[in-house]
């Protein structure tokens, strides 16, 4: 893709309806030129449980609107009626794809307000768990990009490897998906014996898988034809619409919170975020593949540099009567989708006053997706959604 095409990219609206005063196209459904399609929530190509209201003219999308709320559980309300420690089982259920990130940022927010220093060993273990969590998500999402356009083989292989990672999680924490491993002040346990060797065995398989996936997907002519030049995010959208994470990195912005505002022990690890400038679906898939390689490398570094033993939990008061000092904080971390943060307000009582989750999909799945879908082909809808990595539970909580 030539660079100037990205800069000058504008939707070609010549055969589309006029734009009304509110910036939305005026679609006259009664003219029988357009068809309204409800894409989802019962649709295999839609990520998670959300729906799109598409107005199509032939195969081309004229107007798109995202509808969310199918997964709303009212977490933020429920947590207001639970004590700080009672929130831990509930907080990891906020995003089912990566359950450790909400756990970590909630713990970090509580520690930030209560001024607790986390022991070094616990920080290493937290980093390890976060990176493993990122790895298992990427093993599902990277081949999933091929799955949206009919290449299911990579998904079969990838989810098999993801299961092996989940086995390790089970060994470490006792749970496959929901771990509740990170608690305020530290973590729940040390690594089991032989964990590092088993990890290394799986990482070797992942290395092998990356090579095979590259030849299956990234060198595949049909895959390239379907993804290159589709769904281009212009560079000026990144700040305008709050695009973060891999989607921003694919547009040439080196945005990675692990690097920009190092938390835990990311400052001691050696890596460089991968960026590219094409900013289409293929570029985002490449960025995710490079993220996968980086994550494997980071896990290797963590295992090599990690201290063998140490204190894993700081002293905390009795958690059942724990009163957090009054204050507010915003804590963020880099999930596989981008900036993932908690805004926590404490009023000095045993219960949190207000918790708000900032998920990257809040902008990706609504503002950006609605914009990208205009003028797109209806075949590319699910490929676009997966390439933005939309995750509805973090929109509606």
């Amino acid at each position: 893709m030539a660079k100037n095409k990205i800069i000058n990219w504008k939707p070609d609206r010549s055969k589309f309806p006029d734009i009304g005063q509110d910036g939305k196209p005026v679609v006259d459904l009664a003219s029988q030129k357009y068809v309204k399609i409800w894409h989802g929530p019962n649709h295999p190509g839609v990520t998670g449980n959300m729906s799109l209201e598409l107005t199509v003219n032939g195969d081309e999308i004229v107007d798109a609107k995202t509808h969310v709320g199918y997964l709303h559980r009212g977490f933020e309300k429920l947590m207001e009626r639970r004590k700080y420690i009672q929130c831990f089982p509930i907080v990891c259920r906020m995003c089912v794809a990566e359950t450790d990130f909400p756990e970590y940022i909630y713990a970090a927010a509580v520690e930030d307000l209560a001024n607790i220093e986390v022991p070094e060993m616990a920080q290493w273990l937290r980093t390890l768990v976060l990176e493993m969590s990122r790895l298992q998500t990427l093993l599902r999402v990277v081949p999933g990009q091929g799955g949206t356009i009919g290449l299911g083989l990579g998904v079969q292989w990838g989810v098999y490897l993801r299961d092996l990672i989940l086995d390790l999680f089970e060994e470490l924490t006792g749970g496959r998906i929901y771990h509740m491993y990170i608690i305020p002040g530290g973590v729940r346990g040390l690594l089991p014996d032989g964990f590092k060797n088993r990890m290394e065995e799986i990482l070797k398989k992942v290395d092998d898988y990356v090579i095979r996936l590259t030849s299956l997907m990234y060198d595949n002519a049909v895959y390239k034809k379907r993804t290159i030049g589709i769904g281009v995010i212009p560079t000026d959208w990144v700040d305008k619409y709050g695009i973060v994470g891999p989607n921003a990195r694919a547009a040439g912005f080196k945005r990675d919170i692990r690097k920009d505002n190092p938390y835990l022990i990311y400052g001691q690890l050696d890596y460089e975020p991968f960026t590219t400038t094409e900013s289409d679906i293929f570029a985002r898939a490449v960025v995710r593949l490079e993220d996968l390689k980086t994550t494997v490398d980071l896990i290797r570094q963590i295992i090599a540099k990690m201290p063998l033993n140490g204190d894993i939990k700081a002293k905390t008061p009795n958690v059942l009567h724990w009163k957090i000092p009054k204050g507010e904080t915003y804590v963020k971390s880099e999930s596989s989708r981008g900036e993932f943060g908690f805004y926590l307000v404490s009023d000095g009582s045993e219960y949190p006053r207000r918790i708000n989750l900032r998920g990257p999909s809040y902008t990706h799945a609504i503002t950006v997706l609605e914009k990208l879908l205009i003028n797109a082909n209806i075949s590319d809808v699910s490929a676009l959604m997966v390439s933005l990595q939309t995750c509805p539970p973090e929109i509606e909580r």
Partner: protein, 175 residues
């Protein structure tokens, strides 16, 4: 960071500056000047990334606190702007002209807290809830447990314990 805060204090009437970490600051400003402060931060100080907008219900003081968090990707600092609005007729100026996704946050706040943002596109459309006819659910005076027991059909036999009491009875059965 310090210079920035000095510049802001010189230009705007900001108060309650809390610097939690070296890359994060919370400050308060009155309702009238909030949008101009945000515009200033975006255009002059390069806080180009909008992180979140949310509300906190201080029912004791009859106030809603709105929190705007902005991020400067060049020097990697966050700044959080608090503003207090009255709970009786909650209304705030819309900021959707600065970042388009703010409209989504305002739509959510309108639905979940009942805070109105006149002029924000689609602010009255339902966002998450469908057919909600009670008071906005995120307000403190909405009792979710009571609502659940009245609306859904709880399966009998669920026991709820206060964890503190429960552990006390279990550990020290004789008091």
């Amino acid at each position: 960071m310090k210079e920035l805060l000095q510049r802001l204090e010189y230009r705007f009437d900001v108060s309650d500056i809390v610097q939690k970490r070296e890359n994060q600051t919370f400050l308060t400003i009155d309702k009238k000047h909030t949008i101009s402060l945000i515009t200033h931060l975006r255009d002059i100080e390069n806080f180009s990334h909008f992180v979140l907008l949310t509300a906190v219900d201080w029912i004791e003081d009859n106030l809603f606190q709105l929190t705007y968090i902005l991020h400067n990707p060049e020097v990697n600092i966050d700044i959080a702007i608090r503003t207090m609005i009255s709970r009786d007729n909650p209304e705030m100026d819309s900021a959707h002209h600065l970042w388009e996704q703010v409209a989504t946050y305002q739509r959510e706040l309108k639905e979940m807290f009942g805070i109105n943002f006149p002029g924000s596109p689609g602010v009255n459309d339902s966002f998450i809830l469908e057919g909600w006819d009670d008071i906005p659910p995120y307000r403190r005076d909405f009792d979710t447990k009571k609502y659940t027991e009245e609306t859904y059909f709880p399966r009998p036999g669920r026991q709820t314990n206060d964890p503190a009491e429960y552990m006390k009875n279990k550990l020290y059965p004789n008091g």
